[in-house]
Structures are given as structure tokens and as C-alpha cells.
């Protein structure tokens, strides 16, 4: 390469896969370049024609087509094309056309082969297509995490210890002591089968038997827990962890279909992963006042950063953070009830939005509500519930969960209502949908009962699942709202930047990335009548209905994971550098690898929005501002 061509080399060195290429090799590449200009609208590669070049876009934009003529991708500055033809028989597989006036650097097949054989990074890059490229980027990251890759069966150290559920209290305690276990499985004979019926733990014996001074002859089935939360034996440890976090249980029977293979305890996971957020959760329940909670809330960010550094995926981190938030809320409710006395009528405390979706991060405000029993009488009871809601809300604020700016909190009387009023709210939202009203009530369609009579929340989920899928107008409105926020990617695959609070050009990964994705996933999930709240679980539910193709679902999952994990890492870096984490990312803060994959991911969001518009007929009319 002539030294005077350094400008050209420097351009290529900004883009993958050339960015990681040794200098001498890149010099060699540059020395073989041919430059060609294509006017907008002209064909660059025609299907089936011989091709002996790899194409690099120096400036402009190019459209890549499938052989059917369908648009496959739009690519821009710094991106390459033509590699698939070179990998297979030197014939053009994906025709290409200049979308704008485009300047191409192309280099010959021999150089392509040389790079392919000598530079692994280059070979990896050109071998996989864009969406599968995203997928391989994700799978590379996940390899290093043991929680993600080890099965729960690894934690089972002994045969399950069980007894018939007909045994008496004292007998059960004796078996547990003899066997040295903290939980006893209770079985029931049923037509020759022995089925798992319930479980009793150390804590249950303490709180339900000893504290209540029950006679030792009490049948164990009177105090055992039924409707057990269990986990499949092929689940990963992190799934067990999420299940425990979500349900606030400390023991999980591991099942091989109907057979119990063993029991894993929270302490097993904590031992396995001593820094895990489960440890923080168990600590939350040991705090005796708001000050204690406030003190340990400082560990939440450490726990977050640790999980990021351990390469946990976004689902895991989002669930762990939601689990922690839920635990703070639950403990505050316990403390509130201790202070104010038992509730005058049953109630359910409900989490909304990201906590309900198990997609919470560290920068989060509190979104919650109360469903009261229908016997609720405002004059007699509301003073109590207002005081309780205020205690919890203030406590959460102390612990770093800022007040909701939209006043979606149980302290707001509108969101502290008996079940029949709530049913009326949801029925009205669904059956008489108004775009603007829905924009504000969107958050209620991610709901989860976290304390008290959680059945109330389940009733609402059932109502939503049944009614939403039948109201085309509701789905159309919801879809239209889901199109309000578009991914920050321009027509030519450049990032569309906005000014953030500090006058820096950036894009908001929440507002323009994860939020539009969870919005559009919610629409499909409601259309399917799914009760799932978490976006990944919603995608799974959608997958069972054939509403979306498997490929599209996979792309959505990968895009959500990638955008979320970039957002998470961005926040973790800020915390480690002592800055306040936010969602505004500047392109220069990203590695070329992240930039490239983010563009892929945003493209997926953009395509998914187009489909949403079409599927729910949401293109007509105006979006509310």
C-alpha cells in the first residue's frame, strides 16, 4: 500500500471486521482495492452473474435483495456485501442496488480468501448472516456464565426425603432432624401412583406449628404448603433462581415429569454463587425497619454490576432486579402491617410495568396499585389503606425507587380501589378504547400481584386475557400507541441522535429500544390471550399460536436481549465510574461490534413495527402525540 492511501485504510479500520485486523494485513487489503462509483438506482450485483469481488461501502447506501426480488437488507457506510456469492460458487446470491449515490471499494477474491484463511475474526464475520450474526454475538457472551449453563440437577446431592402426608407433626419433625434436611416432601397415594402433594419446611414448622402452639399430633397436611412451585430437571440453575425470586420460595422440588428427583434450597444456590442477588433478597427479609432496608438498598447496585460482570443475560438481571424490588415492597408491607395492625379487609398489592414484567433495572421508579376486597367501605377502611400505601411508597423512595411521576401509585385513590372497580377500569379500557387514555393506562397491562390476596391480580389477568383478544378496536389502538416510539435508526442505517439533558448527541436505549419492543410484544401477547407478563415469556406464548413466524420470534428475542444487555452494560459502566446511570447512549461510547449489532437489532424492531401496523390495521388515522 502507498503511504498516501492511509485515509482509505483509516476509514476501513473503523468498521468490523477490519477494525480488529492486524495493520499489515489491512495495508495489504487496501493495496488491492478498486474504486467504483454507482449512481442511485443502478444495479451493483445481478443475481446469478459471476462475482469475484467483496464490496465495501465507502459512502452511500445499498439495498440487498433476495432472489425473489424481496428486499432483504439496507446497508450503509462501512458495511460489506457480496460475501455469500464468494463463499458459494462465485455467483451472486443476493442482488444489490445503489439506494443512494454510492462509492464502493471492492477487493478481489484472492484477498478475500487470504483474509478468510488467516483472520478468524474476518471469517466469523463474513460467514454468518446479519440476524444470525446477532445471535452468535449473544451466544458468545453467554458461554462464560455457569449459572446459565449448569442444570439444576447439579445441585441435587441426595435422594429426596419424603413422607406420606398422613404423618403427624412430630413424626415429620423427627424425619427432618434424622435426615438433616430443611424441607420434607409430602406424598399421597393415588391409584397406585405416589404423587407429590405438599411440602413442609423448617420455617413452616417454626411459624405455623411452634408459634401457634399446635399439638404434636396435628396432621401434617393441615399445615403443609400445597399447589407447589416446582422446576423441571432440565432447567438451568438461573431459572431455579428466577423461580425462587419470583415466588419468594426457598425450596424447589425438581421434577422429572411426575417423579421428584430431589429438592434444591435457596442456600444451595447461594453456596454455588455466593454473590448472588438471592443473598441480598434473603437479607431484605431480615431487616426490622425502613432504615435497615435503606441501608442494604445500597447493595442493589453492586449486585447489579456483579451480575453484569458475570455475563448474566438481560432476562436474568431484569428478573433479579424485579425480585429484589418485589422483596423490598413485600418487606415494607410486612413492616407496615406490623405498625398499623392487620388490614381491615383483604387486599392485594400489585406491581405494574417493568417490575411486573420482571424487566427491572437500577434506574427505576415505583409503579404500584392496590386491589381491595369488594367488602371494602371507603369511610371505614380507606384511612388504613392510604396509611399503608404511604408507608410503602415512602419506604420505597428511601430505598431508591423514586416516586412515580405519573402518580401511578397505591397512594393515589384512583389506584386504590376494590376489585369490582378495577374490573370496571379494565373493561372500559378494552371495550371503549381511546388512544390517549390507553397511552396512560398501558402500564396496567403489565401487572403482577406481589403481596396479600394475589388471586385478585390473577382475576384481572384472566379478565384481560379473555377480553383483549376479542376487541379488535382495543388491539388497533394499542398497536397504534406501540408505534409512537420508533427505533433510533435512519433510512440509511445511521443512528438518529437526539440531544440529552447535557447537550450531548445520543439516543435513548429505553425509549427507543426496549420500550417499543416490549410495547409491540404486549400487543401480540394480548391478541393471543396470553397471561404472561415477561416479554420473553410473552414471545414464547405468541410462538404457540403461529401469529408470528418462528424466525421473526427468534429475531425479536435476540433484538430484545441485545438492546437490553447494551443498556444494562451502559448503566453498569456508569455505576462503576461513579456516575449516575441513565439510558442515553452516545454512538462513540459503543464498540464497533456493539454499533453494528445494535443496528441489526434496531432493524428488527423497525420491521416488527411495520408488521404490527399491518397486522392490526394501525396505519390509518393519526397517532396521538
Amino acid at each position: 500500500m502507498q503511504a498516501e492511501l492511509i485515509d482509505i485504510r483509516n476509514h476501513m479500520a473503523n468498521y468490523p471486521p477490519f477494525d480488529e485486523m492486524p495493520e499489515e494485513l489491512l495495508d495489504r487489503v487496501v493495496g488491492t482495492i478498486e474504486v467504483e462509483y454507482f449512481r442511485a438506482g443502478t444495479s451493483i450485483l445481478e443475481f446469478g452473474k459471476a462475482n469475484h469481488w467483496l464490496y465495501y461501502i465507502r459512502s452511500g447506501a445499498v439495498e440487498i435483495y433476495r432472489r425473489s426480488g424481496e428486499l432483504y437488507n439496507r446497508i450503509g457506510e462501512g458495511e460489506i456485501f457480496g460475501q455469500f456469492g464468494l463463499l458459494m460458487h462465485q455467483k451472486v446470491r443476493f442482488p444489490a442496488k445503489a439506494l443512494e449515490d454510492t462509492l464502493i471499494y471492492r477487493f478481489p477474491e484472492e484477498i478475500f480468501r487470504l483474509l478468510f484463511e488467516n483472520d478468524d475474526n474476518f471469517a466469523d464475520f463474513v460467514e454468518v448472516e446479519d440476524n444470525s450474526r446477532l445471535r452468535s454475538a449473544l451466544s458468545r457472551r453467554e458461554k462464560s456464565n455457569e449459572l446459565m449453563t449448569s442444570r439444576v440437577t447439579r445441585l441435587i446431592t441426595r435422594e429426596p426425603v419424603s413422607a406420606p402426608c398422613t404423618v403427624r407433626l412430630q413424626e415429620a419433625a423427627r424425619i427432618m432432624t434424622d435426615q438433616g434436611v430443611s424441607a420434607l416432601l409430602l406424598m399421597e397415594e393415588n391409584k397406585g401412583h405416589t404423587d407429590l402433594k405438599g411440602i413442609i419446611t423448617d420455617r413452616d414448622l417454626r411459624t405455623r406449628a411452634l408459634a401457634e402452639a399446635l399439638p404434636s399430633e396435628t396432621p401434617i397436611r393441615d399445615i403443609m404448603s400445597e399447589d407447589l412451585i416446582t422446576i423441571r430437571d432440565n432447567a438451568f440453575i438461573f431459572e431455579a433462581m428466577l423461580t425462587m425470586l419470583h415466588n419468594n420460595v426457598h425450596h424447589l422440588p425438581v421434577m422429572d415429569k411426575h417423579e421428584v428427583r430431589g429438592v434444591i434450597a435457596l442456600s444451595d444456590i447461594v453456596k454455588y454463587e455466593s454473590q448472588s442477588s438471592l443473598y441480598l433478597v434473603s437479607n431484605i427479609y431480615h431487616q426490622q425497619d425502613v432504615r435497615g432496608l435503606q441501608k442494604i438498598s445500597r447493595d442493589v447496585r453492586d449486585s447489579f454490576v456483579r451480575m453484569v460482570n458475570e455475563d448474566a443475560n438481560s432476562h436474568m438481571i431484569g428478573s433479579a432486579m424485579a425480585g429484589i424490588g418485589r422483596s423490598f415492597t413485600q418487606r415494607l408491607l410486612e413492616l407496615g402491617e406490623e405498625k398499623l395492625g392487620p388490614p381491615p379487609v383483604p387486599y392485594c398489592f400489585m406491581a405494574l410495568g417493568s417490575m411486573a414484567r420482571d424487566e427491572q433495572l437500577v434506574v427505576t421508579d415505583q409503579d404500584n396499585a392496590m386491589i381491595l376486597d369488594d367488602s371494602f367501605n371507603p369511610k371505614e377502611h380507606d384511612e388504613y389503606f392510604l396509611a399503608l400505601a404511604k408507608f410503602v411508597s415512602d419506604g420505597l423512595a428511601e430505598c431508591g425507587y423514586t416516586y412515580c411521576t405519573g402518580d401511578i401509585m397505591a397512594t393515589n385513590q384512583k389506584w386504590r380501589q376494590p376489585l369490582h372497580v378495577w374490573k370496571g377500569y379494565f373493561t372500559d379500557w378494552i371495550e371503549n378504547p381511546k388512544a390517549e387514555a390507553l397511552l396512560n393506562s398501558n402500564i396496567f397491562f403489565d401487572l403482577d400481584g406481589i403481596y396479600g390476596k394475589t388471586d385478585f391480580a390473577e382475576d384481572l389477568k384472566t379478565l384481560v386475557a379473555e377480553k383483549a383478544s376479542n376487541s379488535q378496536r382495543f388491539l388497533t389502538m394499542l398497536a397504534r400507541n406501540a408505534l409512537n416510539r420508533t427505533p433510533p435508526i435512519g433510512f440509511f442505517r445511521s443512528f438518529v441522535l437526539e440531544e440529552d439533558g447535557q447537550q450531548r448527541k445520543s439516543f435513548n436505549l429505553k425509549r427507543r429500544g426496549t420500550a417499543p419492543l416490549s410495547d409491540l410484544i404486549r400487543v401480540h401477547a394480548l391478541a393471543c390471550g396470553s397471561r404472561a407478563q415477561n416479554s420473553f415469556e410473552r414471545l414464547r406464548a405468541i410462538g404457540q399460536t403461529k401469529l408470528l413466524l418462528d424466525d421473526d420470534l427468534g429475531n425479536l428475542r435476540d433484538a430484545l436481549e441485545f438492546i437490553a444487555i447494551v443498556r444494562i452494560r451502559h448503566q453498569a459502566i456508569a455505576i462503576e465510574e461513579g456516575r449516575e446511570p441513565d439510558n442515553n447512549v452516545r454512538p462513540e461510547d459503543l464498540s464497533p461490534f456493539e454499533r453494528s449489532h445494535l443496528k441489526d437489532a434496531f432493524q428488527v424492531v423497525s420491521n416488527a413495527q411495520k408488521f404490527l401496523r399491518f397486522r392490526y390495521n394501525a396505519g390509518v388515522g393519526r397517532n396521538v402525540p
Binding site: 500500500m1 502507498q2 503511504a3 498516501e4 492511501l5 492511509i6 485515509d7 482509505i8 476509514h11 487496501v30 493495496g31 488491492t32 482495492i33 478498486e34 474504486v35 467504483e36 462509483y37 454507482f38 449512481r39 442511485a40 443502478t42 465507502r58 459512502s59 452511500g60 443512494e100 449515490d101 454510492t102 462509492l103 471492492r106
Partner: protein
Amino acid sequence: MPRNSFASATMRGWGAMSHKAAVVSTQTPDWSERFDALAREAQHPLLKEYYAAGCIAPDTPISEVPMVAMDFETTGLNPDQHSIVSVGLVPFTLKGIQLSAARHWVVRPRLPLHQTSIEIHGITHADIAKAPDLEDILDPMFELLRGRVPVVHYRSIERGFLDVALRWRLGEGIEFPVLDTMAIEAHLHPNRRPTRWQQFWGEKPVSIRLADSRIRYGLPHYAAHNALIDAIATAELLQAQIYHHFGPEAPVRDLWL
């Protein structure tokens, strides 16, 4: 900075040509015939060989014409007073600019180097002290020029300076056709200076400088300026001009000067 103390393709076209230029002036010779005659007349073997290689037929479609983009950095604008300090050449066709065959030389000027040219070209006294005389690079230069139509941005520089430099060194000058990307821009924008009335309405003068012309075709900005990058930039600009205004079938006769 005094405008006449340096010259490079990057700076040319900034008011340098105030007269209207047609792409083809009536005086343009039939270069094929002219080369045959020059091959007979030339004395120096290098020039004789150059002309004998011939010039492509005037009717040849531009898509079939072998070309070479040429750019000189000079110490000034006047060939009789200033010298060439560097030469960039890159052979190309409408379908491709071959960087593998691109060449760049720094040569020792006959006249002292002005401080201002140092600032523009980044070529220093130390570079030049070690540099060969233009005479020493004539063989590889003509290797690339032979059989190809030169493409330049503002022909007075490359034509004038090469002619004078060869007169000094070989005892005879040189004639050759050029495709001048600046002349093409001048032709496309005959009224580059807006009238006062147009200025009032915010119209800006059209610049036919290399970098400004490139912007009109969506061509990228090159940060560095040296004779080779400018030659490549000129070749890219010609490709763009052909595709936008003339088409690959246009005979070279319509475009050369």
C-alpha cells in the same frame, strides 16, 4: 495566505476560472491524428515512444477508454516560476480505479520551497532533500501515461507544469488530451456567481473546487491531501460525472480537451 503561492487540486476552482468554459472548445484537436504527427516529430525517445503508443479513437465510448488520473502538487500556479513537488497517478476505467497500480512520488523542485506550500502539502525540506529529480521518475510515470487518457482537475496545472518540466529536462515539451473534471463542472454551472438579486434571495456561488464538486455527487470527504488522494478523488469525480450527465456510451471526443 497569498493565493498564487501554491497550487493543488484541492484549491483549484475557487475563482481561479472566472471565464465561461465549454467542455469542448472548438480548438480541440483530433488527438488520434495529432499523436501520429507528434510521434513523427518528437526527438526524445521517451516522447517518441509515448506518442507512438497512440491515442484512443475519438469515437470510443467513455466506458472503454483507459484513463489515468493525474495530480501534481506545485510550489505555485505559474509553470514558468514554480515547480512540481509531488506527483500522484492512478490508472482507471469507468468500472474501476486500480489502487494496486497507484503511484506517488515526491520530487525535488528546481526552485526554493515556499513556507506556504509546506503548510498546504505537508511536504518539508527534509522530504525534498532526499527526493529524486522529476527526470528520475519519468520512466515509471510514462509507463502509466502511455495509452491512457489523463484525467485532471484544472488542466492548466498538469498540462502546463509537465510541458515546462519536460522542456527543461528533455529539451522538448509535451502535448496530450485531458478530461478535466473542473471544466466539466464549469460547463454544468455556467452561472456560478449569483446576481445581486439572487444573492439577496440567499443563493450561494457554486464552487467548482474538487472537494465542493464531490459533495454534489455524494462523494465522501477525504481528510488528507496529497497528490495521490487528489488523483483518486478526481477519478471518482469523473466516474460520478459520467454516470450523472453523459452516460457510459458518450464518445470520448465529446469530453476531452
